[in-house]
């Protein structure tokens, strides 16, 4: 049987791994061609040289990449002509939100600019086969497949003099970079839909060939609005629950309550197991914007005059790191100049090197503004792309002395390890800022003059 051509549009955190998963499908049914913009030629080159562009602790990434090279069924390109040979096109490009400032009622003047997303859809429609299956995985404002993508295809196909035989489906990914990067696609639940039954059937048939659907059954929803809404809803649910706890964290602090112990107690109730703990902030590509996509859709695609309250969750979460920073600022009585501060972890995700919208960025920027001397460390982030900065090696970190340690991301390397103990040992007097409540107090018990400050805990214990 002739292999089908699957073109993956967008080779970022989702598209890159999605390409490998498709290329590695059990029956070797697909030729996969990843496509990205010419401005991302370095990414394309890397992939074609056999280098996976994203640092990952998942060993499957390597073996999947090797298998694809062995099968010779994966390559990357920027050539849009590629769309013309695709049987299936998977859309994994970004759709960004531009945030502005917010007012006292926590309303943000963000905007959603669909122009580059529309342009990408038009490029496909202008070049694709007339019976292509377009599978959109990008997180989009609910209503996008029907109200934005379909009209583009309709119009373009009309201009091309083609029959309207294309199929459009939507099935969002739940990709988690990290140790289960591949399995977050291959071995996880999926929701899907199509603009009509044929489209939904085609999506189902395809997904069954790349996902372990026996163990993780697919869920078909009635229309594309539903799957699009499902994705932004599940992320808004998380964002909102994080924002909720941020407010209570601040309340707990003024009331002298250790919110960590309170939440441990509440979590014993099965109905309350998912209540969040205090933390530094929200990072990553999804939770920081998806509630805004939803609220935007509600207003601009469905003419509702109601803002979703979830919008405010984004504002509250965006400001979370400033709250932790205030603790640092107050501890040093407002003078951070020349204070030597070691920031451990710059990623937003534990044990993963993902710095997209990391809340540590705000901490870093503010510390620099306050003229602190900042040392950055992260075992998963060699180079912090957003700042074009290299993090320091274990050796370098251990050589220096510090006034404070700030736990930016509680990677395992920092939790009761020799590395962490060496830092504590080396420094005579140290304050540890731990917004995640990750450090065991007893582990620093033996260090005279060391203190631990946790967000959500008012207590500053001196040992």
């Amino acid at each position: 049987m002739k292999k089908k051509n699957v073109v993956v549009q967008g080779l970022g955190f989702v598209g890159a791994v999605m390409s490998l998963v498709v290329a590695n499908n059990d029956k070797n049914q697909y030729n996969v061609i990843g496509i990205d913009l010419p401005s991302n030629q370095d990414l394309i080159d890397k992939l074609n040289q056999g280098i996976f562009p994203i640092q990952s602790s998942d060993v499957k990434i390597n073996s999947f990449f090797k298998e694809a090279i062995k099968r010779k069924n994966f390559r990357a390109t920027s050539d849009i002509e590629t769309y013309s040979i695709a049987d299936i096109i998977i859309v994994d490009i970004n759709l960004d939100v531009q945030k502005g400032v917010h007012d006292e009622n926590l309303n943000n003047d963000y905007s959603v600019d669909l122009s580059s997303f529309k342009k990408a859809m038009r490029t496909i429609a202008e070049n694709c086969k007339n019976d292509v299956l377009l599978l959109v995985e990008t997180t989009v404002p609910p209503g996008t497949c029907i109200n934005i993508i379909k009209p583009i295809f309709e119009e373009t196909f009309k201009n091309r003099g083609l029959k309207q035989l294309y199929k459009i489906g939507h099935s969002y990914e739940r990709v988690m970079p990290g140790p289960n990067y591949v399995d977050s696609i291959k071995n996880f639940y999926r929701v899907y839909s199509g603009i009509n039954d044929d489209s939904a059937d085609a999506v189902e048939q395809f997904l069954k060939t790349i996902i372990s659907t026996d163990e993780y059954p697919l869920t078909r929803l009635s229309n594309t609005n539903a799957t699009e809404m499902s994705k932004v809803l599940e992320n808004s649910f998380r964002a909102m629950n994080i924002a909720f706890i941020q407010e209570w964290t601040e309340f707990a602090e003024v009331a002298g309550v250790n919110l960590f112990e309170v939440i441990d107690a509440i979590r014993l109730r099965p109905t309350h197991k998912n209540i969040m703990k205090p933390g530094l902030g929200v990072g990553g590509y999804c939770l920081t914007k998806d509630p805004l996509l939803a609220s935007w859709s509600s207003q601009y695609l469905f003419n509702s005059n109601k803002l979703l309250q979830s919008e405010k969750a984004v504002v509250i979460n965006d400001e979370m790191p400033l709250h932790s920073l205030k603790t640092v600022y107050n501890h040093f009585k407002g003078d951070l100049s020349s204070k030597r501060i070691l920031v451990l972890g710059v990623s937003y995700l534990q044990n993963v090197g993902d710095t997209r919208y990391s809340p540590v960025a705000i901490i870093y920027e503010k510390l620099i503004n306050f003229k602190a001397i900042v040392t950055l460390h992260d075992p998963f982030v060699e180079k912090w792309d957003e700042y074009n900065l290299f993090t320091e090696s274990n050796e370098n970190v251990l050589e220096k002395e510090y006034d404070a340690v700030f736990i930016g991301c509680p990677h395992n390397q920092y939790l009761n390890t020799d590395f962490f103990n060496s830092i504590l040992n080396k420094n005579k007097s140290l304050v540890i800022f731990d917004p995640h409540g990750a450090i065991n107090e007893n582990s620093i018990n033996k260090y005279i003059n060391h203190s631990l400050k946790t967000i959500g805990k008012r207590c500053l214990k001196k040992y």
Copy 2:
């Protein structure tokens, strides 16, 4: 060993059952005296006549009551002298919130009036033994034990010339009236604290004698602010998650999305298992006010200038039933006059007869205002106290004809039962309003001219 005297202040939903549980403790260690205001003499009389004042489906209520009568260790009174013989006093009185109107930013001008609660505390302090253990179970604004109760005891004991030997603890209940009414106290997790270590120790010792703490270990928190906050936090968490979904329900309806199927799909993720489903509204004594107690405390006991966003959840939830009502209103094109509407279930809780702040109340009142002819049915509520109204028997309900059925509370009696089918059979053309999504569509499939309207589902299917 001489039995200890335990006085339970307040004989409502919590105090009544708490009294029985204490009186039934394994080692028969306690004499229990329930006390309530003289204005509740009927309640007191009932209890002394061996009649439990709350209708309940829990068979344990009966057996516990019988055992207490056999042991002769429970009686009720309004005599405040009783406090003078108490070794332990359990506070189970109400602390209410008066709600007002809200502005466009969903801020409500509610007020918390502590005067009757303070008066009750003063009555105890003026009459109790000097080494009494006061165990507060009432849901109070965080800070109440330390900032309100303790000062009352300090001052009153000083005036009485007593040493400050009282102990004050806080341990909130998680009582659920219904089939597990007794077990919601006896076999469930508890959080506790005291204003000092002696107080916390005394609470622990007492709770161990009435709760199955081997299976459901107690959690001790650092101070009374923490346990008080824990209670309002866990209820605010629920209230906020319900409000969140209400907003998305309205969004789903304008976008033509069946939110029930979306949420079923999302719940497959372990991290999202507790996401709520659309519904009629929030009832009961706790979720309708606890977020307000928290926000009030934050402002008035801890001088924070921040309102908690959870406040707005209360406003959103209070308005939820109006959304369901709009569906009814629109269906009948704004003319409900003389429409015969059967309301099935007036309780706020499934399979339980608890009408406190039931969202069905708003539905009922509005239907009456619109001059509909309303028939009320609820197998668990013989008399709807708030309206001094008796619900109708199965026979009466089946005799009449209706234009519409409104599922107020989805008791099991309404789900695919002969009773429900008889209603469907009897009526030629019927619209069923089902805000809970409880009725199986297929079950009404065979009834020509019947239709089902669900909140959160846009579809109105005609069979």
